[in-house]
Symmetry: C2
Subunit: 350 residues, 2 copies
DNA sequence: GGTATTCCAGGGAGCGCTCTCTCCAAGGTC
DNA sequence: GACCTTGGAGAGAGCGCTCCCTGGAATACC
């Protein structure tokens, strides 16, 4: 950094604070780091010196010796094969309420620990950029939001030995901690609710099929319906954006006009589907019942408001942060996973 | 950080690479940093040593001496007085397409320079947290998205002497670089378009009135209408979220059912207003014409699609990044500002 | 009263890098 | 051939901090 005080001089060092207080560097260091074996009078003297000089520890010097930076990265990753889409990656992740909830949940845990969170988008062509950032030791660990099966980032982080926690079950088995929600159970809740309100022609809009979570929701939905004798369930895949949900709904209803119950793999796409249904003149929920997934704020902003499957993203992110901190603290590399339970939130759309 | 190679040993140092190649630390350093005065053969030898050992420079050690970190922060700040709102800050900023466009624009400039961008939300109670992060020297400079007049962060960064660039004209005069768009001109474009399509009862939904940009858009709209003899212009303030736009529109139409032309200070609120109008049974654009602001992706996802005022956010962010880099490179602290031009994008809603 | 023990401040090494300075060798000049 | 210049490698200091170790003073123990 190039920090210089307003008057042009450099920011004070430990040594200068020590001189001000008439003590040794070590003593100031002890005060800064809250070591208890310091005489209270001296401690106060040093504290005054710190205040007087406006001292702030130099992070580079500190982390050179402690090998800690007290910050972790939230990396939002994107696989290769989806970069060609209409809506740019950055638009997508910064439009979906998902990221805000994750951030909020993680900060809830990290801030009290004095750990900073830096958010980094990592769309595919810039993967190496982010990887370099991580390898350089800017952060102590990584919260990785990775969607695709094909994403090499989890494996790479693993190889690098950087502590990391995943936001979902990895596509390939990997010795990493992760949190997840019971995707199949969520889908089952949706299926059973649609059946319970008397719908017979069910269909689903899934997420991208290279994502384990999308696969699980789709499989869970189909499995639940199979139990009730529904062998064939029309489906169309979107990419979790509103526009893709709208598009998928159009396709689905063009091919299967008889559909009267729709499970959509996230709320944003459900909102798009609602739009499509409105354009098609289908009344929701009278003619078509719609169930979303996420229970994001988008679900409340729809008309009609979305019945949806709640996943506790904030708690999940908080747990990710906790898992990461425990990995950073100890040298214990034993990966753990924590699975959360979804639940049905009944509103107007189904 | 606690990086250890998979096999448990620490990552290699310059010294080790030098030993591998049989040269001095200095030579390896020169190769790493692309200094030209190195024998090509030696350079290649060193390069092989780097590859073989998997060497990555230790950032802390480097920045301890260079006083550079090669990363900048994108800080999204929030003033004190707005934290009490219904929709949490993190939800708001990670739902508005705004941030994604800013990030994209900044990365466009920063990545080719090898500069990393870290995104940090800074809602008011956590200001000191972020400030500490910045003071510790994690970053070389700051791109500051600050909305309110009352936000102390610009002043604080100024006092700290951290290079920073603002995303809008600061509320109080400050020796900082900033970019902005001609807000008043944008509002004028909206006003004149609404008049041009024959609307006579105009109103506006503004942003929070503690934001200079909101004030400017409101003032610009009023001024343009005053020229055409409209003395009184009903207005209601939102907070740039969809829900607040919906709410504001309801209030406005309850008090002034005669409104036939509406200028909304951003697209997200305009989308909310469209929702309200639909609920009220007012046809857009036939009965009420609506003009938004931003030309965000949200404008395309509305029904009807929004006529809006385009502001080139990506280019503005890129310019912010350029201004910041020039401030970081040189010691020249002369602040500069760059003002962009808005333009009207005609679609369906007006 | 002498020795063992505890407590707490200071000294010093060293984290991994950059960067200046020095030095050597090769080439050029008169 | 003696001198100077230049290109390019190495040596060494030092960035600001932590942390181990040492040592002196204060206290406890026999």
């Amino acid at each position: 950094m190039t920090i210089s005080r307003p008057d042009g001089q450099r920011s004070p060092t430990l040594e200068e604070v020590a001189e001000w207080a008439g003590v040794s560097r070590s003593t100031v260091s002890r005060v800064i780091n809250g070591v208890s074996t310091v005489d209270p009078d001296l401690r106060e003297l040093v504290q005054r010196a710190i205040d007087a000089t406006g001292y702030v520890p130099n992070l580079a010097a500190r982390s050179l010796v402690t090998r800690r930076t007290d910050s972790v990265a939230l990396v939002v990753s994107e696989p290769d094969d989806r970069t060609e889409q209409s809506e740019p990656f950055l638009n997508r992740i910064f439009t979906d309420p998902f990221l805000g909830r994750i951030t909020a949940g993680a900060l809830e845990v990290l801030r009290p620990e004095g750990i900073h969170l830096v958010i980094m988008p990592a769309e595919s062509p810039a993967h190496h950029h982010v990887l370099r950032y991580l390898r350089q030791g800017h952060v102590d660990g990584v919260l990785l939001i990775s969607s695709s099966d094909e994403d090499p980032l989890p494996q790479q982080l693993c190889d690098l030995g950087i502590p990391a926690v995943l936001s979902a079950r990895p596509g390939k088995p990997l010795p990493m901690s992760y949190v997840d929600v019971e995707q199949q159970v969520g889908a089952k809740l949706a299926a059973e609710h649609l059946l319970a309100i008397g719908r017979h022609h069910l269909a689903t809009i899934s997420g991208p099929l290279d994502m384990p979570s999308s696969q699980d929701r789709l499989a869970g939905f189909r499995a639940a319906l199979a139990v009730h004798g529904h062998a064939y369930v029309p489906s169309a895949a979107g990419n979790f954006t509103r526009a893709s949900g709208e598009q998928a709904a159009r396709e689905l209803f063009a091919a299967h006009p008889e559909i009267d119950g729709l499970f959509v793999a996230n709320d944003l796409m459900a909102e798009g589907a609602l739009q499509a249904l409105r354009d098609l003149g289908r009344r929701v929920p009278d003619e078509v019942a719609v169930v979303g997934f996420d229970n994001s704020i988008a679900a409340l902003q729809c008309r009609p408001q979305l019945t949806t499957i709640h996943q506790p993203l904030e708690e999940m992110a908080a747990e990710m942060a906790r898992l990461l901190l425990s990995r950073i603290g100890k040298a214990d590399p034993k990966p753990r996973s924590v699975i959360f339970h979804p639940r049905l939130i009944k509103r107007e759309s189904a």
